[in-house]
């Protein structure tokens, strides 16, 4: 199974056609897939809170929007999540690369990894952790859940899920 295609297919099948991204090595394949297809509008943003602003506007314009980002950026989005996305009750799937988990080669990534679930829990954001490749099967249901409850929902995808880092396995 091509995980990158599965994410994009599920987005498209759930009507999510406005996606903003800030890159991460682990997410490169998904971003490439979004760029390739014409049923999803991909707009890169320079910072994750900016991206959430784009998603908020698209939502109010009648689109289903999503953000793809790295967990280290969670810190810069706290205010936006609390006072924009949650305060105005906006649905927002957040597909997040969970850096700093098992297999991580860069020590500094662990410093935000240890806060990731704590921050999400503090914000009462429903959080799903994809650790095995087969976990991706739940993505479709998570998208449906997000647009049912009008909340930001986090999907953390760790290195084991992605098949390790370069040289350690198949990135797909």
């Amino acid at each position: 199974m091509d995980i990158n295609k599965k994410f994009a297919d599920d987005f498209a099948a759930n009507g999510v056609d406005f996606i903003t991204t800030v890159p991460c090595k682990q997410l490169a394949g998904v971003i490439e897939e979004l760029e390739r297809r014409d049923d999803i509008f991909h707009i890169p943003s320079n910072k994750e809170d900016e991206g959430m602003g784009l998603c908020a506007g698209a939502h109010m314009g009648g689109k289903r929007a999503a953000i793809i980002m790295q967990n280290t950026a969670l810190g810069v989005t706290i205010n936006t999540l609390a006072t924009l996305i949650q305060y105005y009750r906006m649905p927002l799937p957040m597909l997040i690369s969970y850096r700093g988990e098992l297999g991580e080669p860069v020590a500094c990534q662990v410093e935000m990894a240890v806060h990731t679930k704590g921050l999400l829990a503090q914000l009462n954001i429903p959080t799903y952790h994809f650790h095995r490749p087969e976990d991706v099967a739940e993505f479709d249901a998570i998208l449906k859940y997000t647009f049912m409850c009008n909340k930001p929902v986090a999907i953390l995808t760790d290195a084991t899920f992605w098949g390790g880092y370069d040289g350690e396995g198949d990135a797909k």
Binding site: N46, K47, D49, G53, L54, G57, G62
Partner: protein, 184 residues
């Protein structure tokens, strides 16, 4: 002219357009001057008016005007390259540049010193940037709305705030009413 005087002057022009209005006193002023269902008031999240406005403009066909401030644009400077590279003809970014952080006590911003936001916008790739005097804002805005090119307006005005009440409308009500106006 201060911001509230600019808003009073452009109120009849923007009345039926979709407005995303900056957090704090700008939203309070617009709300008091001419509250409309087509106004989206930001109650939090400094800096994102231009991003929300762009997202909205890209998602549907009606004109969108984001009323932003120099301090807020400086907070989210990364917005200008995104706007430039995803130009939406129905989008106008009106930066009310009074050289100060109005909502927090009129502390000076760098835009009131050496930094030119119109030049920054141009350097970011925005192709239609107009810097104008506060007195000319209405005229420049009307021209922007009449055209089909995305326009960034930097309105140079004086620092100062009108004393207006805090917006007590529930955020979900603001959004619901706004989304109905978008769809109307």
């Amino acid at each position: 002219m201060i911001r509230s005087e600019v808003l009073k002057e452009i109120a009849p022009i923007i009345r039926d357009e979709l407005i995303v209005c900056n957090i704090g006193i700008p939203s309070q002023e617009l709300h008091a001057i001419d509250d409309q269902p087509t106004n989206f008031y930001m109650l939090g999240t400094m800096g994102l008016a231009s991003s929300i406005g762009l997202g909205l403009a890209l998602a549907q066909d009606k004109n969108v005007i984001a009323i932003d401030g120099d301090g807020s644009v400086l907070t989210n400077l990364g917005t200008l390259p995104t706007i430039a590279n995803n130009a939406a003809g129905n989008f106008t970014l009106l930066i009310v540049d009074n050289g100060s952080y109005g909502s927090t006590g009129d502390q000076p911003t760098y835009a009131g010193m050496k930094t030119s936001l119109s030049k920054v916008a141009e350097a970011c790739g925005c192709e239609n940037v107009v810097e104008c005097r506060a007195e000319d804002t209405g005229e420049v805005l009307e021209a922007a709305l009449a055209g089909d090119e995305m326009t960034i307006i930097v309105c140079k005005c004086e620092s100062g705030n009108a004393k207006m009440p805090v917006i007590t409308m529930d955020p979900v009500v603001i959004k619901d009413r706004f989304m109905k106006a978008v769809q109307a």
